[in-house]
């Protein structure tokens, strides 16, 4: 008997019952309730402060999508960073880009199938599971599968694009992110993903934390480490695909890592570091979007730059205190 098979089945079985029910409720909320809330919120905001910044449809969608990313990416990132898996998001984003390329190629051939993000989601999920499999079943360092997935996913993307007929502007919007390019369906998708990620982490936080802190002790306590590792990596894939539209495949990992790195220096508590990461994530997203319009700079790049400035500020503050 392998040690991987040891573990409590109680957690997973409860999840198997709970998740479909919760998904149904989420689906209803996102399709019928969310658009009403969205219109009410932005309508009210626009009537209070009548500027183009909050009244233009594309910026409303961009801000909403950005806020969602500012919540989910740091939440998942906290666990990844503390497991020294900071670059896994980068690898998944690059394979997601490969998926987008395939999706664009397919949509060029079959017009009805115009959902490149769906392809990205599938590619990232497959890559996530594949990476998990490689990490468990090969002897190398954990960063080897990451390097392989990172370059491999990108190679597939570039190969498909070079072969097919795809507008370079479309490709660029997935590579570097484009806030003008977020349709309302994708905002809905992002709200849905955010709710899924937040709810899943809220329920499984204890197990994820225990494994992150002391993997052996978690195994000894008969927590199903393999299941929760897989769950975390799949959540990461969801977040990465959601964030790719705003930040682009190349910059996605920054949002998973930088707010967390800053928050870790501000608190001694793990739980507080999660909340602080989200706060700093929002600072980066909102500040990045404002500045990118004020200075006419690419949004994804500006978000990451603001995040890094915050990180450097926090680091400098900490050094000067000690």
């Amino acid at each position: 008997m392998t040690t991987g098979a040891i573990g409590s089945r109680r957690g997973p079985s409860a999840l198997l019952v709970g998740v479909p029910l919760v998904l149904l409720a989420f689906g209803g909320f996102i399709i019928w309730v969310f658009p009403v809330l969205y219109d009410a919120f932005w309508g009210a905001t626009c009537s209070v402060a009548d500027t183009w910044l909050v009244c233009s449809g594309f910026l409303q969608r961009g801000f909403t999508a950005g806020v969602m990313i500012g919540i989910t990416a740091p939440i998942v990132g906290v666990y990844l960073v503390n497991r020294q898996m900071a670059l896994i998001g980068e690898a998944l984003a690059h394979t997601a880009f490969g998926g987008v390329a395939i999706g664009l190629f397919v949509s060029a051939a079959v017009e009805q199938v115009d959902h490149p993000l769906l392809f990205a989601l599938v590619a990232a999920a497959v890559a996530a599971l594949g990476m998990q499999y490689l990490t468990v079943n090969t002897d190398g360092h954990a960063d080897i599968p990451i390097a392989i997935m990172l370059t491999g996913g990108f190679a597939v993307g570039i190969a498909v694009i070079s072969y097919g007929v795809v507008f370079s502007a479309t490709v660029e919007s997935y590579l570097f992110g484009d806030i003008l390019f977020v349709p309302f369906e994708n905002v809905q998708l992002m709200v849905g993903l955010t709710l899924i990620v937040a709810a899943t982490v809220a329920v499984t936080h204890k197990q994820l934390l225990f494994i992150t802190f002391d993997r052996e002790a978690a195994r000894l306590a008969r927590i199903n480490v393999w299941f929760y590792d897989t769950l975390l990596i799949v959540l990461t894939a969801l977040v990465v695909v959601a964030a790719m539209q705003i930040l682009g495949a190349i910059l996605v990992a920054g949002m998973l890592v930088i707010p967390v790195a800053a928050a870790m220096q501000l608190t001694d508590s793990f739980t507080r570091s999660i909340f602080l990461s989200v706060v700093l994530g929002q600072v980066a997203i909102l500040g990045g979007i404002f500045l990118s319009y004020a200075w006419n700079i690419a949004t994804g790049a500006m978000i990451i730059i603001v995040a890094i400035v915050v990180y450097l500020g926090v680091t400098a503050g900490r050094i000067s205190r000690s």
Binding site: N82, F213, L220, F270
Partner: protein, 252 residues
Amino acid sequence: MSQAITVDDVSFAYSDQPVLKDVSLTVEDGEFLGLIGPNGSGKTTLLRIMLGLQAPDTGTVELFGTPAGAFTEGTRLGYVSQHSTDAGTSMPVTVREVVRMGRYPHAGLRPLDAADHDAVDDALDRVGITELSDRRISQLSGGQRQRAYIARAIASEADLLALDEPTVGIDANSLERFYDLLGELNDDGITIVLIEHDIGVVVDHAETIACLNRELYAHCPTDQFLETDALERAFSSARVLGAANATGGGRP
């Protein structure tokens, strides 16, 4: 008296490097067992097999009467290893958050309740680190940190506490307090299996001693053990083995 751990005819090898050969021993409920042996004698491997973290190549292991691989009551086991001191060196996590982890297997997917928080408070109090509970675990001294790990095991209401060289890098003063604490826990009925480098410490505190070097050389009460030559035989075989295979042994 019932058995906490039953090891029956266990052998284990890393690829073709034999680590354990035909080891059989029984740990009674409430026993304080010191597991000693030279470096690379398979102590850690035996302990991990006992806890079901690793499967033996041949032989069987039972934890509280259940095969170790199928044992699911994770809350009954506590483990403090030499590596515990390395964990979380950069992670922001407070002492209280670490001790709370002892309640996680009890809670499963539900939030911690009042009883859980009481158990955490009691455990912190028991090992005397209540005033450190909001400190980052990486800022504690080695001795304080090991007490936090013990508190985690107490909070989980473990019946069996396994310790793998828990006092590496701990100063003499903290060491004495640490072993007094283990003695108290053992008096409360907790079974303890201790791997320790310092044989003098083991002889002072353990009720029974198992001397291992691939094979089990002795397993008997401490006073009887001191009258045998098991230690000498185990260590001299290590020297012969060491001379024959200077690079052999080591940990996984």
